[in-house]
């Protein structure tokens, strides 16, 4: 701005220079007046002293004649200085130009004009120097002022920070106070309306509390305290009354128990009367009492079996065995006895107590025992047959596996010690095998058991069957337990399931017992080589049968499998380990027919299967001789002809008898077919046959026609 100003105003230059000149003169006068002083101050300033110290020193050194450049500085206007500076510069430039001109025009060194001009130039330089110094001082001063102001601002800022912090702290304190929770807030107080209604005036003090919520709360708390005190007193008095009543009850109980022996004596006395009148009230009652402690499946079985017994089968009786006290202990609390969970809880508890003692092996053994534990109560169902023999069925409940098992026992009316081969027939282990097809009770029907077994290291349930009894599927059904293979969880106990299976199962059980007893009887005569043929079945066979049963023995499964001539039956999958195996030998003359018999446990529903091997002029079997094969089918296939009166209990003996008859036919026709040139015919033809051979494979006539008494082909 000042620069532009100077450029814009060249006409005023002269005037400016004029003032300038004046200033210059004054300045020069100032400077020349005391050049020493000025130098001295300069030195002092260079020593680092402040203007004050310099002044103080100056005061001390020279009293009046002081020159203070700083004071001068304050009195000067920087704007003016600037203008002065510009003017000086211009003047200097002009002077220089004039000297140049003079020199160019040939003026001599040291001529007056040049000297004058040089002097003027020197004064101008001095002015410039002065101005320079002044500007430096001004700058210094401005800096100091800025610094001072900055310090002031800093102090103020610090103050502000402190104040802000204080504010924050106070706010926090206020927040804390606001958040404070009094314990009285947790107390449930009666509502305000109720309080005013119920509380007496001296507590509620409505005139105070109506408007002041704090007072109101205090009053309500007072009222609460008052009320609680009152209730506590009431509680105490109630306790007293209860005590009194209890005492009364005790007294009455004592009185009642004193009555017990007398009543029992009366009951005892009435027993003979009950029995005499055949009204087993007491027994039924006792059973019902005990039944309360039965596990649910056994209870269902009890109810359904006794119901069925009463409705349809007078020869069926049910009883409960076992330790009632233990069952009671087990089902404590007694109301929860029907609950499966209590069982598992008890189990866990017992396991816990066991875990504390013993080594790992003992522990696992204990666990196994615990897993296979039976309920202390068991059911016994007795099925009486017409001939007086009884089938005892003992049903057990395995609490931790949630399955039922059964053991069977037969007490026969007659002596059954006779037959050796019949030993297996009434063996309690196998008596009930396959009551329904392929239900052998060796595996647990509850799919969850497998995982339980894995835990305690039981490989298969079959190892424990002899100890625990068989877990047949029908037993589970009678107990209302249903295990479906796709949903492993147990769906509770269904009485309807039990009811739906009861009749058919009881019938099967009875049928099984009858069949086994009948077989037992037949076996004892078979062992004496007599084939018993009842009068109803006489018409099936000709009067004269020459072939005789020579041997009837029992066989094991392994022995049976080793026989050569039964492989086709084995391969056809018609032999199971649960079957019974026998070997019958039929003889006539030199011919010996061996028949391996597979007796399914479901006999007579399933026909016994015969496989034949004939030892006569070499060995032949059903595989090598079509006629023996036909003989096998004659015995095995035509069950309807052979079973006799229902339920077909004479099937096996009739089959054996037919075997004898057919062997006669076989041998007699065989000797006739072969040329009998060598010596006398061993088996003379006695049976009447229409044709001795027929058809492409030249079969012999094995079919007996009853009234006419001849043999024909099928």
């Amino acid at each position: 701005m000042p620069l532009s100003h100077s450029a814009a105003t060249p006409p005023s230059l002269k005037l400016d220079t004029e003032t300038h000149k004046f200033d210059q003169k004054k300045l020069i006068k100032d400077m020349s007046s005391d050049p020493l002083k000025k130098r001295k101050t300069k030195v002092i300033r260079n020593d680092g002293g402040t203007p004050e110290t310099k002044r103080l020193r100056g005061d001390g050194d020279q009293d009046v004649r002081t020159y203070n450049e700083e004071v001068e500085l304050e009195s000067r206007d920087p704007e003016q200085d600037y203008t002065l500076y510009k003017n000086t510069c211009e003047a200097l430039a002009t002077l220089m130009g004039e000297i140049q001109e003079l020199k160019a025009s040939g003026a001599k060194e040291g001529s007056v004009e040049v000297e004058t001009k040089r002097r003027q130039g020197c004064s101008h330089f001095i002015t410039l120097k002065k101005l320079n110094r002044l500007s430096h001082m001004r700058l210094k001063k401005a800096r100091d002022q800025t610094h001072e102001a900055k310090q002031k601002v800093d102090v103020l800022h610090l103050q502000l920070q402190n104040l802000l912090y204080e504010v924050m702290h106070l706010q926090k304190e206020i927040g804390k106070c606001l958040e404070f929770k009094s314990q009285h807030e947790e107390i449930e107080l009666v509502s305000v309306d109720e309080f005013f209604k119920d509380a007496p005036a001296e507590i509620s003090r409505p005139h105070l509390t109506k408007d002041d919520p704090h007072q109101l709360t205090l009053a309500r708390l007072d009222w609460e305290l008052e009320q609680r005190k009152r209730l506590a007193e009431q509680y105490k008095s109630s306790l007293c009354t209860k005590e009194k009543i209890l005492k009364g009850i005790e007294l009455k109980k004592e009185y009642l128990s004193s009555l017990q022996p007398g009543l029992q004596a009366i009951m005892q006395a009435s027993l003979p009367v009950q029995e005499y009148l055949s009204m087993p009230f007491e027994r039924v009652q006792k059973q019902a009492e005990v039944a309360r402690h039965l596990p649910p499946p056994l209870y269902v079985l009890l109810v359904q079996a006794s119901a069925y017994g009463q409705a349809c089968d007078k020869n069926l009786s049910v009883s409960i065995n076992g330790d009632v006290d233990e069952a009671k202990a087990l089902s404590r609390p007694p109301e929860d006895s029907q609950d499966d969970e209590s069982d598992s809880d008890a189990e866990e508890e017992q396991q816990n107590t066991k875990r504390r003692r013993g080594t790992v092996g003992v522990q696992l053994d204990d666990k196994r025992k615990e897993m296979l534990k039976r309920h202390p109560l068991s059911l016994c169902i007795d099925l009486k047959c017409k001939d007086g023999s009884v089938l005892h069925l003992f049903f057990y409940y395995l609490m931790n596996l949630n399955i039922l098992t059964v053991k069977a026992k037969v007490s026969a009316s007659a002596d059954l010690s006779g037959a050796i081969s019949a030993g297996e027939l009434l063996n309690p282990e196998s008596l009930l095998n396959c009551l329904y097809a392929s239900d052998d009770g060796q595996e647990t029907p509850n799919p969850t058991n497998r995982y339980q077994f894995d835990k305690v290291g039981i490989t298969t349930f079959a190892d424990y069957v002899s100890e625990l009894g068989h877990a047949y599927i029908w037993v589970q059904k009678l107990g209302g337990l249903q295990f479906s293979s796709d949903t492993p969880q147990v769906e509770g106990v269904h009485s309807s399931l039990s009811a739906s299976h009861m009749e058919s199962t009881i019938k099967l059980l009875r049928g099984r017992l009858l069949a086994r007893l009948a077989l037992h009887k037949q076996f004892s005569s078979l062992e004496h080589n007599i084939v018993p043929v009842s009068t109803e079945c006489q018409h099936l066979f000709p009067a004269k049968v020459v072939s005789r049963l020579a041997r009837w023995t029992m066989m094991s499964y392994e022995d049976f499998l080793e026989l050569g001539f039964v492989q086709h039956v084995v391969n056809a999958g018609l032999v199971r380990e649960t079957d019974l195996f026998f070997m019958a030998t039929v003889e006539r003359g030199t011919a010996r027919l061996q028949a391996a018999v597979v007796l399914n446990p479901r006999y007579p529903e399933i026909t016994p299967l015969f496989s034949l091997s004939l030892l006569w002029k070499g060995e032949r079997s059903g595989r090598t001789d079509d006629n023996l094969r036909a003989l096998e089918s004659e015995v095995n296939v035509f069950r309807s002809e052979l079973q006799g009166p229902r339920p077909g209990l004479q099937l096996l003996t009739n089959q054996i008898q037919r075997l004898c008859v057919c062997l006669d036919v076989y041998l007699e026709t065989e000797s006739q077919v072969c040329d009998g040139s060598e010596g006398p015919i061993e088996f003379p033809r006695e049976k009447m046959c229409l044709r001795s051979v027929r058809g492409p494979n030249r079969l012999k006539p094995f079919k007996y026609n009853h009234p006419q008494g001849f043999f024909s082909h099928r």
Binding site: H568, D626, R629, V673, P696, N697, H713
Partner: protein, 323 residues
């Protein structure tokens, strides 16, 4: 049909349908099963395709003989012949088109029919069986027009020499008789068991298989299987096969024979046994070749089992059809 019945089943007869895609088989319970060969032989055959597509009860007694004509399946039971339409069987509709009985004299037992053949020269059905006689039925009218008498025991098998107009029959009495069907009388009678080379007295004298090919005849049974030259009436080759043979056929310079024993015997005309191919049944009753079509050229054999073995290559058993 229970497992025990299956165990004791025997298959006695087989016949391929005229189209060659089906096989009918008759068993000892009087049932006929129809199998689909095209399904069983297809590359994506399953176990189910080895089961019959249709099983029906045809007769009371065993079905000893089955025979296919252009239209019908003829089955022989106890003394009766029934015809079933192949078309209807294909629709799983077993209903007899007709049932005929030859006139039998004996009344006590109905004689069985062991073999039937078609005489295409005069479109007649030749039937041999339990009454020792051969009955000839006119297929057009359905009447039995003549009876050939001469055998003294029941007839096992029949064969036809078309060019010579001769019927051959083999019987339990051990004789092979040649009949002129136009004159209705026996022209020749060969008692095979009397020839020392063939006789096997330990078995017996019956003739249970018979096959002819121009001047050659194959017969066996109690006597050993033997190849005869008919013009000279003399045995040329004897095949040393154990057991009695029940069916034998000529096929492409080879003789296939089945009988007692679980194998199919391949014999050369010269008299040697080339191979014995094992199969499932313990003894075999019937052998059939499906030569009508090129597509399903198989040999099937069946016997004392519910299984019918199928040979696609004649030298080993491919699989079994089963009742």
């Amino acid at each position: 049909m229970g497992p025990i019945e299956l165990l004791h089943m025997s298959v006695f007869s087989q016949s391929f349908s005229p189209c060659g895609r089906f096989l009918a088989a008759g068993n000892n319970y009087g049932e006929i099963a129809v199998f689909s060969l095209s399904a069983a032989l297809s590359p994506d055959a399953t176990d189910a395709s080895q089961k019959p597509v249709l099983t029906f009860s045809a007769h009371e007694g065993p079905v000893f003989s089955l025979l296919s004509t252009d239209m019908h399946l003829l089955s022989a039971g106890n003394g009766e012949i029934s015809a079933w339409s192949w078309a209807e069987l294909g629709k799983k509709n077993p209903k007899a088109v007709w049932t005929k009985r030859p006139e039998y004299k004996s009344s006590l037992e109905i004689p069985e029919i062991n073999h039937m053949i078609i005489n295409s020269r005069d479109n007649s059905l030749v039937v041999g069986g339990g009454d020792n006689n051969i009955h000839i039925m006119d297929m057009e009218t359905g009447t039995f027009k003549s009876v050939l008498q001469g055998h003294t025991d029941y007839i096992h098998c029949l064969s036809l020499r078309e060019r010579e107009g001769e019927i051959l029959s083999g019987a339990e009495d051990g004789a092979v008789r040649m009949w002129d069907w136009r004159m209705g009388r026996s022209v020749h009678c060969v008692e095979i068991y009397k020839y020392k080379e063939c006789a096997r007295p330990q078995y017996g004298k019956w003739i249970s298989c018979l096959a002819t090919d121009s001047d050659w005849m194959l017969c066996g049974g109690g006597p050993a299987l033997s190849l005869w030259h008919l013009r000279s009436m003399s045995p040329t080759s004897i095949f040393s096969l154990s057991g009695s043979q029940r069916e034998a056929v000529f096929h492409q310079d080879l003789i296939y024979a089945v009988g007692e024993g679980p194998h199919v015997s391949h014999c050369l005309l010269g008299g040697s046994v080339k191979a014995q191919i094992p199969c499932t049944p313990s003894s075999l009753n019937t052998l059939a070749l499906n030569l009508g079509t090129t597509e399903h050229r198989v040999m099937t054999v069946a016997g004392s089992s519910n299984q019918i073995d199928v040979f696609t290559n004649f030298s080993y058993r491919a699989f079994s059809l089963s009742f």
